[in-house]
């Protein structure tokens, strides 16, 4: 009973204040600067309780921009592994979705979902800050489902 209460509290707190980890996975910087722009006063995602963190172990949502290449695929997989459950992944930009304009380039593996499971896809080249915020809000919805599923499984 007591544990259930604490679990509920944690899941509510997570949903109300999700912490983001942003990883640039071979993007042209276009999506990265738009992701950073979301944090700044004009778009200000902090009003949804969203905080950008640098440590994967503190994060709930992983934002990935850009194509996966042969070298950073391992870094991406390790980062994903280090984020505690439940977690959601948001792939941002045409490159993160499919490799975009670079999909035929020699060192490109393809979209983010070639390496880790992706929950929300945000299209655009680069994706607009509004679209990224929308993606994060959709991710929260997924996050709620995942936390619930986890609670019922216990």
């Amino acid at each position: 009973m007591g544990m259930g209460l604490i679990d509920n509290l944690i899941s509510t707190a997570r949903r109300r204040s999700p912490w983001l980890l942003h990883f640039d996975c071979g993007s042209c910087n276009g999506c990265d600067i738009e992701t950073l722009a979301c944090l700044t006063p004009v778009y200000d995602v902090e009003r949804f309780g969203v905080v950008n963190v640098g440590n994967p172990k503190h994060a709930d949502i992983l934002l990935v921009t850009g194509t996966v290449n042969l070298r950073n695929r391992e870094v991406l997989a390790v980062l994903f592994e280090q984020i505690p459950e439940p977690k959601v992944v948001v792939a941002i930009g045409a490159c993160g979705l499919s490799g975009g304009i670079f999909r035929e380039a020699p060192n490109v593996v393809g979209g983010v979902d070639k390496v880790i499971p992706v929950d929300v896809y945000v299209p655009g080249c680069p994706a607009r800050p509004e679209a990224i915020i929308d993606g994060v809000v959709l991710a929260l919805e997924k996050f709620r489902e995942k936390s619930k599923g986890k609670g019922e499984g216990k």
């Binding site: 942003h22 276009g30 990265d32 290449n69 950073n72 020699p106 060192n107």
Partner: protein, 358 residues
Amino acid sequence: MAGTVIPFGPQHPVLPEPLHLNLKIEDEIVISATPAFGYVHRGLEKLADIRDFRQMIQVVERVCGICSMIHALTYCQGLESLMGVEPPPRARFLRVIWSELHRLHSHLLWLGLFADAMGFESLFMQLWKVRERIMDMNEATAGNRVILSVNVIGGVRRDLDPGQTGWILSELAEVEKGIKAMGRTILHDYTVQKRTRGKGVLSREQALELGCVGPMLRSCGVAQDMRLLGYAAYGELDFAPVVERDGDCYARCRVRFAELGQSIDLIRQSIGKLPAGDISVPVKGRPEGEIVARAEQPRGECLYYIKANGGKFLDRLRIRTPTFANIPALTVMLPGIELADVPVVLLSIDPCVSCTER
């Protein structure tokens, strides 16, 4: 405790991009720094084999999203001189306007990230608030916030009407006000000076020997600026490169801050002198021969080597970007400083990893 190696990156809170440094540390002091690359490498020069020379404009714009307009500009100027095309005067002035808008947003972005690197988060937020006005100008004039796609071989794709130029001028006045208000903090604040003065010093000789470019070189007293070549309409505008002497992080900060004012001035001059006429000329035929095209990016000199054979596809496209030239300076600047100062010194070169690795 000799020689502890601390890996810095590839994922690090202070870096928006994955750059890896192996820092050899002794008592919190850095002894040596070895950069490692490849996390953003896509191999896009190779795309010239499967995309024709016109489609490559879209590819080179995505070498780097921060200075995408100037990448496309350099590439188009190279091809224009290969094909003997002269862009009309109006197009040349419009190119200057968009280049300088890009420089403004890039320098504000850098100043913000630099403030964030020393833990000055409110300054970061304020600078990015000002920057949003420039992004709005990009969007209103070119239709996109980041990747403008305005350059074509033989001119530009979009025109500015008098209403837009008037609006740009009034917005610039607001931007200037915002920058001026921030200037006091950036240039005279005790905390900022404490974190930047005398950190990561590079002498004039070292900078020249290591082949630094752009604000890195200008902060050491060398007045090198590719805009002095007079490409686009820079030959008809009045400006002088901003030069500082100290060669430390504070000097780099001052150079980039002064360049904000210079860019605003250049946009005003270009709008004042904007000639009437066409914005592009029709281009026929295919390029043949080889050429080196250069332009000044926010981070320094960008160099394109283009080799064409008269066919649809280029033989070779080689891009040398400014950060690629500035990274060797890190191996000289980082040894001898404290671990806590590494983010500040690293950010002071304005690293753009996606440019470097392409």
